[in-house]
Amino acid sequence: MSYAYLFKYIIIGDTGVGKSCLLLQFTDKRFQPVHDLTIGVEFGARMITIDGKQIKLQIWDTAGQESFRSITRSYYRGAAGALLVYDITRRDTFNHLTTWLEDARQHSNSNMVIMLIGNKSDLEARRDVKKEEGEAFAREHGLIFMETSAKTAANVEEAFINTAKEIYQKIQDGVFDINNEANGIKIGPQHSPTNSSMPSGGGGSSQSGGCC
């Protein structure tokens, strides 16, 4: 599939917050209640359309376990967008956000777009972190915020696509240097057929002679 741009995403956050489930919901549109522990990093990819342009999202779903932190950190580099995920039913995952954020900021390029995601919004009864808290954190750190549910697919699409839109906007604004692959953006192979723009026959230039 030809695409105009390829954006590299990373999904980070504590283990068990639903990173891999979010990815699966986004790429395969399905939910898997029991998911194997992610080893190192897993991948997913999907095509989206922004502003009429095909954009391929290459998503690196990292392992949340602390033991993998040293390895996953090395994958941050060269990501254009990051989904920082916490579990709204587990306050500790919310409390670790600062560490994750520092890690991400330290090991990635400064222009990386970060989307804060409060996952498992379907478990309203077990909510432990208020939406306002997430909003406040996002505001404080200059992140985009959204509550999602990988189970019900609520806001999953939006989370990925809004991040892409933000990145796309940054490209338009010239913030991202698309020629530097360290920014996590690649220009797609141009499979598009060369439009043979035929020179249109000269339009008759009617000269209206001024009479009288």
């Binding site: 599939m1 080893i39 991948f43 993998f68 040293s70 009479c211």
Partner: protein, 622 residues
């Protein structure tokens, strides 16, 4: 004509004088025009504009004469004038006669007539002018009313400013030469005639005239208003046209007069025939009315025609001026084929859509048999990239560790590093390709030997899927062979070929991607699990043998797929042989491609293992 010749007598006086002069003129042709004009009372050569202009005043100066002459002139009018003209013309033919553009037929006739006329005119001198005058009107009216008309129409132009006269009018002038004299009279004459008519044939007009005039006025009003609006509309932006229109509108007056006159005569005659009784006062009113109606009607008709003609001409001129050959105009007006219509646009759009869809389909198909694309789709590239990241980091780490390492430690560790490196230098010769092996067992054993806790699930699953496909193919093929229909086989073979090709490429891509993923995971786990029970050398050997197995498997799979292709090719027609060869080549090519990817992934693990060795040794030393 002979009569008319008699009629011309009074003018003959002039004619004589002219003659004499004409003779002189022959000698000096240059003066001709002027002299003619004078002699003929300006009848001659309106074409020579100066002459005419001069002539006109003369006419006016001689009203009395004209009154007499008029009478004669009307009917036979041509004769004297033409005589004079032709007389000169005959001698100076080229100049006056021909050059004047006058109707050829006319000139000819006049020329012929002129001779006789000349004779007659000369003779007619003898006859008393008074007697003739009486005669003439009757003759004229009866004999040649049409001539009058034509001649008078021609007269109209002279009334208009001769200097300005456009082409059209000039032509009229030419023909009208002869008549000119009559113009002033014509206005008078009707009056005289009318007086007579009033006396004689009033009644008829009275009875029938009222209705007619009424009807006439209404028409006139409508017509005039429409003409005026028309001209005003058209007039915008066409000043020139309007000018000509105006002149032409003004022009027709004399004609009208003439027309009226003629009608008067007719009416007169009718009146005479029917009822001699007359009521003068009413008749006057009636005649006025009819006259008005006639005037207006005529002017409108002729004026309207003139307007149309001039507009047409002007339009044509304007168009041709900017559009030689009218090519563009024709295109605009008639060339509808060029104009895109809705159906054409729709058809084009549909074609575009079809084209795009076909292109998309083609691209999709091409992608499916493109090893690289499929390898990417199975996330092989991503894993390779991630593995590269790890490898690069490990390499840096190894360099920094080695640099910071004390010499003794370096020496002790050096040997282990070198041995591991040797393991990574695969002996390509050892590959016994095509030899069947238990893939699943080999893979599982090797991965277990790695002691990294990685499961060979994904690899084995992919492998199983591929083997199953091949098994299915043979099974299906056997079934098909039992019911061999040649046509179906030929069709199926073609479909089968590309199907097999696609399956082969996809299988290889998937296997390769899973292999790379396996190496990637191995690398990650090597870095993570430093508390290794197994030596890194052993792990390296395991990875090396794993690589071998994977590469061998790629070879086996490719030859299996090629066998499938060949099996189908047997039943296929010879035309496809080229296609089959291409596919076989492609499958083998991608098999080596797959091996290359696998080996590359394996090589990327070297720094990872080295890092493990060093870090572990460090731990040991510490």
């Amino acid at each position: 004509m002979s009569e008319s010749g008699d009629g011309t007598v009074p003018s003959a006086d002039e004619g004589e004088a002219k003659k004499d002069k004409a003779m002189d003129e022959k000698v000096t042709p240059k003066k001709m025009a002027d002299s003619n004009a004078k002699k003929d009372t300006g009848e001659k050569k309106p074409s020579a504009s100066p002459a005419v202009s001069k002539a006109t005043p003369e006419r006016k100066n001689k009203p009395t004469e004209s009154s007499k002459t008029d009478v004669k002139v009307k009917t036979p009018v041509k004769t004297p004038t033409s005589n004079v003209g032709t007389g000169k013309d005959q001698k100076t033919t080229t100049k006056s006669g021909i050059s004047e553009k006058s109707d050829k037929s006319k000139t000819k006739s006049t020329v012929v007539a002129s001779d006789t006329n000349l004779e007659k005119s000369t003779k007619s001198k003898d006859i008393s002018p008074a007697a003739e005058t009486d005669k003439i009107p009757k003759i004229s009216t009866k004999s040649t009313p049409k001539d009058e008309e034509t001649s008078k129409q021609k007269d109209s132009s002279p009334l208009v400013d001769p200097s300005e006269v456009p082409l059209l009018e000039r032509k009229n002038d030419l023909s009208s030469e002869t008549v000119i004299t009559s113009t002033p009279d014509s206005q008078q004459i009707p009056r005289d005639r009318k007086a007579e008519a009033e006396e004689e044939g009033k009644e008829k007009q009275q009875s029938g005239g009222w209705n007619w005039s009424k009807w006439g006025t209404s028409i006139v009003d409508a017509a005039s208003s429409s003409v005026s609006t028309f001209s005003s509309q058209v007039g915008e932006g066409f000043h020139t046209i309007i000018e000509t229109v105006e002149t032409s509108l003004a022009g027709p007056l004399p004609e009208d007069m003439d027309e009226q006159e003629r009608r008067m005569y007719e009416e007169q005659g009718m009146g005479d025939a029917f009822n001699p009784e007359v009521v003068q006062s009413t008749t006057a009113g009636v005649t006025n009315l009819t006259k008005k109606v006639q005037d207006k009607g005529k002017s409108i008709v002729t004026g309207g025609l003139d307007v149309l003609e001039t507009i047409g001409k002007k339009t044509y001129d304007v168009i041709t001026e900017h559009d030689p050959g009218l090519k563009r105009t024709r295109n605009v007006l008639f060339d509808r084929g060029v104009k895109p219509n809705l159906s054409y646009i729709l058809r084009e759009a549909k074609e575009h859509a079809d084209e795009a869809a076909a292109m998309k389909k083609e691209a999709e198909e091409a992608r499916k048999v493109h090893f690289g694309a499929m390898f990417d789709e199975y996330q092989g590239l991503a894993h390779l990239e991630a593995l590269e990241i790890l490898s690069n980091q490990s390499e840096k780490r190894v360099q920094s560790l080695l640099g910071a390492m004390p010499l003794e430690a370096l020496d002790s560790i050096k040997q282990e590093l070198i041995t591991i490196k040797q393991v990574f230098e695969l002996d390509e010769e050892e590959e016994d390709e095509g030899q069947e092996h238990n893939f699943v067992k080999l893979i599982t054993d090797n991965l277990l030997d790695l002691h990294l806790g990685t499961t060979p699930d994904k690899l084995n699953k992919a492998h199983e899927k591929i083997r199953q496909w091949i098994a299915d193919f043979y099974e299906k093929d056997e079934k098909e062979e039992k019911t061999p229909s040649k046509v179906r086989l030929a069709y199926k073979s073609l479909m089968g070929l590309s199907e097999i090709h696609e399956a082969a490429i996809q299988a290889l891509a998937e296997m390769t991607a899973k292999s790379v993923e396996q190496f990637h995971k191995a690398g990650e786990l090597i870095l993570l699990k430093k508390d290794a029970n197994k030596t890194f050398l052993e792990r390296a050997k395991c990875l090396a043998s794993l690589t071998k197995v994977l590469c061998t498997e790629a070879g086996i799979l490719s030859s299996k797929f090629v066998k499938c292709l060949n099996k189908v090719a047997e039943s296929a027609e010879s035309e496809d042989s080229h296609k089959i060869t291409m596919m076989v080549t492609n499958v083998y090519l991608e098999a080596t491609n797959s091996s290359t990817y696998t080996q590359d992934a394996f090589q990327l693990l070297l720094p990872v293992l080295q890092q493990g060795v060093i870090e572990n040794s460090e731990v040991l030393t510490q």
